[in-house]
Symmetry: C2
Subunit: 347 residues, 2 copies
Amino acid sequence: MKLQTISWSKNKIKIIDQSWLPLKLKYLDLGDLKSLWQAIKVLKVRGAPALGAAAALGVYLGVKDSRAANFRDLRIQLDKAILYLASSRPTARNLFYGLERMRRTLLNNKEKRVTQIKKLLLQEARAIIEEDKIACRRIGFYGAKLIQDQDAILTICNTGILATIDYGTALGVIYSAKEDGKALKVFVSETRPLMQGSRLTTWELKRKGIDVTLICDNMAATLMQQGRIRKILVGADRIAANGDSANKIGTYSLAVLAHYHKIPFYVAAPASTFDLKIKNGRGIIIEERPGQEVTRMFFKQRLAARGVKVFNPAFDVTPHGLISAIITDQGIIRSPYQVSIKKLIKR
Amino acid sequence: MKLQTISWSKNKIKIIDQSWLPLKLKYLDLGDLKSLWQAIKVLKVRGAPALGAAAALGVYLGVKDSRAANFRDLRIQLDKAILYLASSRPTARNLFYGLERMRRTLLNNKEKRVTQIKKLLLQEARAIIEEDKIACRRIGFYGAKLIQDQDAILTICNTGILATIDYGTALGVIYSAKEDGKALKVFVSETRPLMQGSRLTTWELKRKGIDVTLICDNMAATLMQQGRIRKILVGADRIAANGDSANKIGTYSLAVLAHYHKIPFYVAAPASTFDLKIKNGRGIIIEERPGQEVTRMFFKQRLAARGVKVFNPAFDVTPHGLISAIITDQGIIRSPYQVSIKKLIKR
């Protein structure tokens, strides 16, 4: 069965509810903005590109039943939906990219009738979905050139079907290399605290028939020390104009370890993940999440001393100097990043 | 209440059952060798120095009710107990050190009566316990000199009371610095998969009134990047003649990250952790544990795809070149390690 992480179906947003994986493949219909906001907040839907699509559909969800009689009233409601969705999670650039595309669609069509504008908004959200499908395959196409037959690849978190619409960024590169007939061995870092590597990525890769081995995050260095990793492939949630890349917590650690062990470290992301208004990584807002994600096992059994303080950043920033190349849907970007990004990423 | 991890009480080995922490402080009496072996295997008692004491008491447990009428028969039974306990966990040097001390006690007293030898064996095991208490305080004494007031220290796993008899190695240094009046901030890496940092170390440090913050293992690099870690303090399970140190999985990762961020990286361990017969880290046997520790949450809820392969080494080896100093009960050892270790560690 072909998976699609997000779609517009029967006047609702239909998502794979990722909180059930790997135990069950369940879909969830989101018919109102609040349910969507909550689903984003607790990571029932996650992954930067998927959040872009979810946010765009969410804006449509927020205005589709609006009784606004004119552009001005519709705009107020749309802006409200955008503000609300923007408050869900701060780090993924794509989420804001999705919201901005929807606002632009509205503003570009202010002369049209409200019903017509609504139609165009849904069309725009659907376009974002279709563009993601294409972008991921282009990332896969470019990235696969960097992968050799028999490569052993380490990845973290989930950057596959479940992080996009139906293919993936870093995992898209792996899928594409496999389609080219290359045999790969993939090591997956489980990705504490929410276990996206363990729960989602091992599930996806097994499903695709890829040789996958799970490790805890603190075991990656040992694999590198033993010469068992040939390449590291990760996604990104936001990339600054100089190439500094925010991604799932633990990514920076892998980048430093890759540097020490002289292993190529690749970031894979669509153009929509770039934030050219931000000069460098210091400008990226890093979401901090509840300590209970760390002190309790899925918010249930307590794992730590009562009342212990917790530092729980959801992302970290890898400075561009540790990145061997950024694989995008527009091509492969290499150092000097400032120049190459400006040349390739147009928006 | 004063904690003691292991003691000989009412003809049994009394341990704190660490599988209950941090939820409950429970003691467990072990009256036979098989129960002890099992308790070691599933980490109800763990930590290299504690395993040394447990193994020594275990040898006594294995022969105390023996009906051996002569030295030869007693020796057969003692060797059997030693072989059995040696099969429990391979990496911690102290466990084998404890077993060897017991065998030597037997061999040194072959002229004595069986009842007398048994008495001497119990005396030897108790001596190991008392020596550990002293060794840990000496480690604390030497190590505290390296710690400044207001230092922020990162540690991994548990190297405190619960890893020794009643004080600790790396945590002993922290306790000793605190007793000297130094205010410290301690960050604890949770230590996947069995969460000794989260479950045991936060509990111990909170109990001692120390400022403690818990992180996931993949967050350590971010703290270092942000300049929030001044020193890293870890324990060791086995140290080779050249200073290469095996310790809980994740330690090597911290050592590489410390090197990159120019943060001092200290190993703390008693002389009994050194294995001078092993030239370097390549000679250290690294225990690999069941994949279910990683794929399931405490062997219950499945967290990963069904049937996924797992790499689950319990330890890793940090090459001596990444270690700023080794803090021992005999003093502080610095590079060149081969020479300094030979000079200081006599056995």
